[in-house]
C-alpha cells in the first residue's frame, strides 16, 4: 500500500499533538507494510523519520531519510503569476478558501470566469502536470482574516503549500491520499481530482474545537469543503465524529473512528526523586487557549488552595489566553500557588510530567487529547474532561465535565490527599496504555485504505 500523506508538522518541530500523532501513526503503519511519502510545508533538520520518505513541499534540496526514496518531480518551483487571465486549454483547479461558497467541480469554470471579471485572486499558480497545464487558483488569500488566532500568514502558507504539493506530488506514485487537518485539505482535494486517487481526510481537530462558537469562517469553510470532498473521513474519537456530523452534516457511514495510540516510555527516576522533596504539583500542559480550558483550571485551583496549603499549580504552555490567566491568578490572590513556565519542549515536557502529582486536562472540546496518555506514560495520574476523545479509551482516569470546577476541585484535592488513589490509578493506567498502541490504530487504518484503494 502506497500512501501519500499530507501533514502540517513533524516532530520535533511541533506546536501541538498533530505532529506527535502523525509520527506515531506513520511509524506503526510502516511496520505493517505501508509505504509512506509524507509532505510537510518545511523541514528544519533534526527530523528523524527512517520509516518513510519525509519531504519538504518546497522540494529543492530533498531531505529524504531511510530506504524509501521520495521522488521529486522535475517540475521547477511553482511560478507565481500575476494577473488572472485563464488561457484556453489550461485545466483549472480552484480551491475556495475565503468567503466563497463551496464549489462543485462542474462549476469551477463558471466561477472562474465570473471571478476573472470581478473578484481578485491573490494566488494563482501555473503548473505542469502530466503534460497538462494546470492553473491553480486560491481565492482571496487576504492577510489579516485569520491573523488574531493563527498569525498573519497562515492562509498564505496554506496557499503556498497547496501549490507546492501539487507540483511536487503529481509525479509520485501512490494508491491513496491521506490528509491531516484543514491546512492540507485544499492540496489534498486538488491532488485527488488530478490523480483520481481516493482521499481520506483525517480530523485531529476542528475549528469548532479550537474556537467554540467563535469559529473563523474561512477555516470552517475549508474544513467543510475537505470533509465533503473526501471519499472517507477519519475521526480521532467518537466524540469528534459526533461533532463532524452535527457541524458539517456528514453521513455517519463516511466517518470512521481511529483512536490515537501512545508509545511506551521509561520513567526518568531522576525526575521522580525530585517530586518527593518538593511541593505537591498540579499540572496543566498545553496551548493556553479557549479549547484547552485553562480558565477552569484556575477557577478550580482557587477552591483547592484553602484545603491543600502546600499545593503548586503549574500552568505550562503559551497561547492567547495566557495574559488573562496570569491576571486572574493575581485577582484571586493565588500568586504564591502558581507558576507559568511558558512553552516547554523535549526534555522539559518529560520532566514536567514526571514532577507532577496529578495532570489535569480540562479541555472544552478535545478531539483526542494525547497529552493525557503521555502524562500516564510518565506515571502521573490524570483528570480529564468528559468532552475529550481520550476519555473514550481511558478507563483508569478521573473524569469531569469541563465546566464543573467544583467537582474538578474535589477530584484534585482527593488525588493530592490520597497516595493510594494515585498509585492505584497509575498502576492500572499503565496496564491500560499497553492496549492503546499505535499498532492497533495502524491496522485499522490499513483496513480502511484497502477498502478505498
Amino acid at each position: 500500500m502506497k500512501v501519500l500523506m499530507l501533514g502540517w508538522e513533524y516532530p520535533p518541530h511541533i506546536s501541538g499533538g498533530l505532529g506527535t500523532a502523525c509520527e506515531g501513526l506513520t511509524r506503526a503503519l510502516s511496520r505493517h507494510g505501508a509505504e509512506i511519502q509524507f509532505v510537510v510545508p518545511s523541514l528544519f533538520g533534526g527530523e528523524h523519520a527512517p520509516h518513510m520518505a519525509l519531504m519538504d513541499s518546497r522540494g529543492g534540496t530533498p531531505k529524504v531519510f531511510g530506504d524509501l526514496t521520495g521522488k521529486y518531480p522535475a517540475t521547477a518551483q511553482p511560478k507565481k503569476r500575476k494577473g488572472s487571465k485563464a488561457k484556453s486549454g489550461i485545466k483549472t483547479i480552484r480551491i475556495p478558501a475565503l468567503l466563497s461558497p463551496y464549489l462543485r467541480p462542474e462549476s469551477y469554470d463558471a466561477a472562474y470566469q465570473a471571478a476573472g471579471s470581478g473578484l481578485g485572486f491573490t494566488a494563482i499558480f501555473d503548473l505542469a502536470v502530466e503534460s497538462e497545464k494546470i492553473s491553480l487558483m486560491l481565492d482571496d488569500f487576504e492577510e489579516g482574516v485569520g491573523k488574531a488566532r493563527y498569525g498573519s500568514d497562515i492562509f498564505k502558507e496554506v496557499a503556498r503549500y497547496t501549490a507546492q504539493v501539487i507540483a511536487l506530488c503529481s509525479e509520485l506514485e501512490f494508491d491513496v491520499i491521506h490528509a491531516h487537518d484543514w491546512m492540507t485539505y485544499p492540496a489534498a482535494v486538488a491532488l485527488s481530482q488530478l490523480s483520481k486517487k481516493p482521499l481520506i481526510v483525517h480530523v485531529h481537530s476542528l475549528e469548532y474545537d479550537r474556537s467554540g462558537e467563535a469559529v473563523n469562517p474561512s477555516i470552517n469553510q475549508i474544513e467543510h469543503f475537505g470533509l465533503h470532498a473526501a471519499d472517507m473521513v477519519v475521526a480521532v474519537s467518537y466524540y469528534t465524529r459526533s461533532v463532524i456530523q452535527q457541524r458539517h452534516a456528514i453521513a455517519t457511514g463516511k466517518v470512521r473512528v481511529v483512536h490515537n495510540g501512545v508509545y511506551p516510555r521509561t520513567v526518568v527516576q531522576r525526575y521522580r526523586s525530585k517530586r518527593l522533596q518538593g511541593r505537591r504539583i498540579v499540572l496543566f500542559l498545553g496551548r493556553v487557549t479557549f479549547q484547552k480550558g485553562p480558565d477552569y483550571f484556575v477557577e478550580a485551583a482557587a477552591r483547592v488552595v484553602p484545603h491543600v496549603p502546600d499545593v503548586l499549580f503549574v500552568l505550562a504552555g503559551s497561547g492567547d489566553m495566557l495574559p488573562r490567566m496570569m491576571q486572574r491568578v493575581q485577582e484571586l490572590g493565588l500568586g504564591a500557588h502558581f507558576e507559568f513556565p511558558g512553552f516547554l519542549k523535549g526534555h522539559e515536557v518529560e520532566e514536567m510530567y514526571s514532577l507532577a502529582d496529578v495532570y489535569v486536562m480540562p479541555s472544552v472540546s478535545e478531539p483526542f487529547g494525547i497529552s493525557a496518555l503521555e502524562a500516564i506514560s510518565f506515571d502521573t495520574p490524570v483528570i480529564i474532561s468528559r468532552q475529550s476523545g481520550v476519555s473514550e479509551v481511558l478507563a483508569h482516569a478521573l473524569k469531569v465535565d469541563f465546566w464543573d470546577v467544583h467537582r474538578l476541585a474535589d477530584l484534585i484535592i482527593n488525588a493530592l490527599l490520597h497516595n493510594e488513589l494515585r498509585q492505584d490509578m497509575v498502576a492500572m493506567a499503565r496496564e491500560e496504555l499497553k492496549r492503546l498502541r499505535w499498532d492497533a490504530s495502524a491496522l485499522r487504518m490499513l483496513e480502511l485504505y484497502r477498502r478505498l484503494a
Binding site: L398, K399, D424
Partner: protein, 403 residues
C-alpha cells in the same frame, strides 16, 4: 437418597450519595435515599415479588417437598421496611410454610470477620435477633459475607455455637474430593456445606449466555446434570444470589419458567429430594475434615478476597474505617454506631475494585460509580466527615488538649 439444597442470598447495601469534599463539615447524611428507594423498588418488582410467588406456588404444589433457604442481610431488611414493605411481607409469608430456612450472617454484610472479631460477633448477634423478630426463626447455619471463609473464621463460627457453615467449593481447597458431600471443620464437629460452583454458576451466570455451548439451559437438561451425581454425592448445594431470578437473568430469558419446572424434573428421579442446609446435616454424615488454609470467597474466578482487598485504596479505606471501631463503640452513640456500621458494608469496597474494571465486567455493572476511583473518593470524603462530626463531638476537648 441425595438432596438438592438451595440457598439464595438477599442483600442490598445502603449506597452513598454523591458526597463532595466540600460537603465535609456541612452535610452529615451520607446515604442516597432516593437511589436506595428506587433500587429497592426495582429489585422488589423484578425479583423478590415474582420469585417469591413462584417459590410459594412450588411449595404448595409439591406439598412441602420443595424446600429452600435464604440468607437475608439486615441492611436488606431495613431497606425493604423503608422502601418495599410488600417485598418483606412476601418473605414472611414464605417463612410461614415451614419449608424455608433462614441462615445467619453479619447484619451489615461486612468484612468484620477479617478485621474486628468483636464487631463480627456483635453483627452476627444483631442479625440473629433480627431473624427472630422478623421471621420468628433461630438460625443454626452460618453464612459469611460473600462466602468468605477460612479455618480461622470457621473456628469463630464454631465457637459461636453454629451447627454448620457455608463455604465455597473452591478447586484448590476441595482438590480431588467432591463438593457434594458434608465435611467438618478440622478438629471440630461443626459441619461445612460446600457450594457446587459449577452447577450454581450454570444458572447464576451462564443461563442466558448464548455463547455457552449448553445454551439454552432447560430444566430437564439441568436436572439431568444433577441426577448424574447419583451415587457420587449426598447433596448438590446450589447457592446463588437471589437476584439471579429476574434481575441478573431477566424474566425474558425464561429464568422463571426454568425455576417453575425444575422441581418436577428433579422429582422424576425417585431418589432425589429437596432439603435445606440444616436438613442436609440431619440426613447425611460428615465424610471427612476439610481444611481451608487460605481465605476463600465466592467472588470472581479467583475465589479469594481480592475483590474487596485487592488494591491500595481498598486496603486503606478498610483500615481507616475499622480503626474507628473501638472509638465508635466506646462513644456509644446509637446514631454514630448505625452510620459507621452502614459504612462497613462490603459493597462500598467492592465498588473500589480495579481489576477488570476496564473490561466493563460485573464489577462495573454493580457499581453506582463511574469508576472505582470515584467510589473511593466518595467514601473517603464521607469518612472524613464522619470522623470529624460523629466522633469529634465527644472528643473535641481531648483533641484540643492533645494537640
Amino acid at each position: 437418597m441425595p438432596s438438592v439444597c438451595f440457598y439464595f442470598q438477599v442483600h442490598q447495601p445502603f449506597r452513598l450519595k454523591r458526597y463532595s469534599f466540600f460537603d465535609i463539615g456541612k452535610d452529615h447524611d451520607y446515604f442516597d435515599s432516593d437511589k436506595n428507594e428506587a433500587i429497592s423498588q426495582k429489585v422488589a418488582h423484578k425479583c423478590y415479588l415474582p420469585t417469591n410467588q413462584v417459590l410459594l406456588d412450588l411449595i404448595k404444589q409439591y406439598r412441602g417437598a420443595f424446600r429452600l433457604a435464604f440468607s437475608i442481610t439486615g441492611t436488606a431488611i431495613e431497606q425493604m421496611r423503608l422502601y418495599a414493605p410488600e417485598a418483606l411481607a412476601s418473605f414472611v409469608e414464605l417463612s410461614k410454610t415451614g419449608c424455608v430456612e433462614f441462615l445467619a450472617e453479619t447484619y451489615h454484610h461486612s468484612l468484620s470477620s477479617l478485621y474486628d472479631e468483636e464487631e463480627f460477633r456483635e453483627q452476627v448477634r444483631l442479625h440473629r435477633e433480627l431473624m427472630l423478630e422478623v421471621f420468628g426463626y433461630q438460625p443454626r447455619i452460618f453464612r459469611n459475607t460473600e462466602l468468605i471463609y477460612s479455618d480461622a473464621i470457621g473456628a469463630l463460627v464454631s465457637d459461636m455455637g453454629f451447627r454448620g457453615c457455608i463455604a465455597e467449593g473452591a478447586d484448590d481447597i476441595v482438590g480431588w474430593r467432591s463438593p457434594n458431600f458434608i465435611y467438618s471443620m478440622p478438629g471440630r464437629s461443626t459441619r461445612l456445606l460446600l457450594k457446587n460452583y459449577r452447577l450454581s454458576d450454570d444458572v447464576a451466570f451462564r443461563f442466558s449466555n448464548r455463547g455457552w455451548e449448553c445454551y439454552p439451559l432447560t430444566a430437564e437438561k439441568y436436572a439431568g446434570w444433577i441426577h448424574s451425581v447419583s451415587g457420587a454425592g449426598d447433596t448438590v448445594n446450589l447457592f446463588m444470589d437471589f437476584e439471579t431470578f429476574g434481575e441478573h437473568q431477566w424474566a425474558s430469558t425464561g429464568i422463571f419458567e426454568f425455576l417453575k419446572h425444575l422441581p418436577g424434573e428433579i422429582f422424576k428421579h425417585k431418589d432425589w429430594n429437596f432439603a435445606t442446609p440444616s436438613e442436609v446435616l440431619e440426613l447425611y454424615p460428615s465424610r471427612a475434615e476439610m481444611a481451608y488454609p487460605r481465605v476463600t470467597s465466592w467472588a470472581d474466578v479467583d475465589r479469594d478476597t481480592s475483590a474487596w482487598r485487592g488494591n491500595r485504596m481498598q486496603l486503606s479505606a478498610l483500615e481507616q474505617i475499622y480503626d474507628l471501631g473501638k472509638a465508635v463503640r466506646w462513644q456509644n452513640d446509637p446514631q454514630a454506631l448505625a452510620i459507621w456500621r452502614k459504612l462497613l458494608t462490603s459493597d462500598h469496597f467492592y465498588y473500589m475494585c480495579t481489576k477488570w474494571f476496564a473490561d466493563g465486567d460485573v464489577h462495573a455493572y454493580f457499581s453506582p460509580y463511574e469508576s472505582p476511583y470515584e467510589g473511593f473518593i466518595n467514601y473517603m470524603n464521607a469518612l472524613k466527615d464522619f470522623k470529624a462530626f460523629y466522633l469529634g463531638r465527644g472528643s473535641e476537648e481531648e483533641e484540643k488538649s492533645g494537640g
